[in-house]
């Protein structure tokens, strides 16, 4: 897919809470082997939202960081979309809370998107379409979650909190573009690998079914389709980011497609903060924008259970240099951390 008008990234920003729950803490409670889990998942600790944090607060902080880089007036935004599977309200948009907090109301589209872990990149597709058809000047796409696994479930070791906001605009008026969109694809099927029914607190998953028919089929197909459409090969990309539900899946997908470890490792953040769900691939992408140089080509591939993948190709532009240092980087958030034990985890996530 390609919009009629060239679309560029104008700003990006992330936010990750400071609290970390090490794998050892969860293993201590359930009598499992931390070393075994670390080997299996390639996750050492996960980020945990504080007692006064939720998807709205994470989205607002990421949005403000993206505005610091973009430098646009919030009134120039024509859309704020929040992709999440952990909305603060079942009914009432998070998008309006974000739009109000950043001073972008009232002449603006605002909505929440849900597609398990790929809701954030869905928001990005829609913002690209609105800007690319000249319906709006700028659009903000946010992927954020405060994901949780049920106690003793394998997901309890990996489900983290955090998010990323990306502002897109048109190449025709954005003076300092960060990256130019080359094209995108979306690839979806009805595949029930992971779900959560209404009023349930924790998701369910179909164990081994989450691999080949779900994650690998969709990420690999989307990436291949996009490269076919654009006439590109893995070696044409400087960096690639795949959704990171654990450490093993994205590395395996990259390998199957023919990407090297060097191409994926700079956006490989899951060992330190866990799976950010809707925020996962977008925050990996944000970590790449924190270091990429003009001319670099970046592949972004999300994955959402249920199931589907969005794939995008961007070429970095000169504006990245002047904008980069105007907000904290993903690595700054990863480094600034406070370890908590299982009891504090239960307290701040409202489990007791």
């Amino acid at each position: 897919m390609r919009p009629i008008i060239d679309v560029v990234i104008s700003g990006w920003g992330s936010y990750i809470p400071i609290y970390r729950l090490p794998v050892e803490e969860v293993a201590r409670i359930w009598g499992t082997s931390a070393d075994h889990i670390k080997q299996e998942l390639l996750i050492y600790e996960k980020s945990v939202a504080g007692i006064d944090e939720d998807v709205a607060t994470i989205a607002v902080e990421a949005a403000k960081n993206s505005l610091k880089r973009s430098k646009i007036n919030p009134n120039e935004l024509g859309a704020v979309f929040v992709g999440t599977e952990t909305k603060p309200y079942a009914v009432k948009p998070t998008g309006t809370i974000v739009a109000e907090a950043i001073g972008a109301t009232p002449k603006i589209l605002a909505a929440d998107f849900e597609f398990a872990c790929k809701a954030g990149t869905e928001c990005l597709q829609c913002c690209i379409a609105l800007v690319g058809s000249n319906m709006i000047k700028y659009g903000m796409a946010i992927g954020a979650d405060v994901a949780e696994g049920a106690p003793a479930d394998p997901l309890e070791y990996s489900a983290g909190s955090g998010g990323t906001a990306i502002i897109v605009g048109s190449k025709n008026y954005e003076k300092e573009p960060v990256a130019l969109l080359e094209g995108s694809v979306s690839y979806v099927t009805d595949t029930p690998d992971f779900w959560r029914r209404p009023k349930e607190s924790y998701p369910s998953h179909a164990e081994a079914f989450t691999g080949d028919p779900a994650y690998f089929r969709h990420t690999i197909s989307a990436a291949k389709l996009l490269m076919e459409e654009l006439g590109l090969r893995p070696s044409d990309f400087k960096y690639a980011i795949f959704h990171q539900p654990n450490g093993k899946f994205p590395l395996k997908a990259a390998k199957i497609l023919g990407f090297t470890r060097e191409q994926v490792e700079h956006g490989f953040i899951v060992p330190y903060i866990g799976n950010l769900y809707s925020g996962s691939s977008m925050t990996g992408f944000s970590a790449i924008l924190d270091i990429a140089m003009p001319g670099d080509r970046i592949l972004l591939v999300s994955y959402g259970s249920g199931a589907g993948s969005d794939a995008f190709s961007f070429i970095v532009q000169d504006g990245i240099i002047t904008k980069r240092d105007n907000a904290p980087k993903v690595m700054d958030y990863i480094k600034k951390k406070r370890k908590i034990d299982y009891a504090i985890y239960c307290k701040i996530r409202g489990k007791i």
């Binding site: 504080g50 006064d52 944090e53 939720d54 607060t57 902080e61 603060p88 907090a101 907000a327 600034k336």
Partner: protein, 133 residues
């Protein structure tokens, strides 16, 4: 807090919008119908700076109703470069690291929930400065 009152206070609590008196130049926060210093009512909009200093604090261990499961938490007075002082909750702070004079900055957070079915109230709080940019 009632829904209409929360909604009315969004500009001051979420975007930190204050009033600047055109006649005496003082900043009024939270906003009032008349200047609390000179009694006039001719204002311009003023946005409270993002960064300030903590000049006093107390640690709440015996909270009011609705905050029982959030203790211990910190409430402080923040002073800005122009001398303006406001009170706010200080979040993400290790109680052992609290210091008079420490630099703090705005952060958007949840304040309270009206039970399981009521509205969630958000506002700006302050946290130790994340990074000097």
């Amino acid at each position: 807090m009632s829904v209409p009152r929360y909604w009315r206070n969004i500009p001051q609590r979420v975007r930190m919008e204050a009033l600047k008196c055109k006649s005496c130049g003082k900043i009024i926060y939270p906003p009032r119908a008349k200047c609390i210093y000179c009694g006039k009512n001719d204002f311009e909009c003023y946005t409270i700076p993002e960064k300030g200093r903590l000049i006093s604090f107390s640690i709440i261990r015996h909270p009011p109703i609705g905050f029982e499961h959030t203790t211990p938490y910190v409430v402080g007075i923040i002073e800005f470069e122009n001398g303006l002082r406001i009170s706010s909750q200080i979040t993400d702070v290790d109680i052992n690291e609290l210091k008079i004079g420490m630099e703090v900055e705005q952060v958007f957070r949840k304040v309270s929930e009206d039970g399981k079915s009521g509205i969630i109230q958000y506002a700006i709080k302050f946290r130790p400065i994340f990074q000097n940019i």
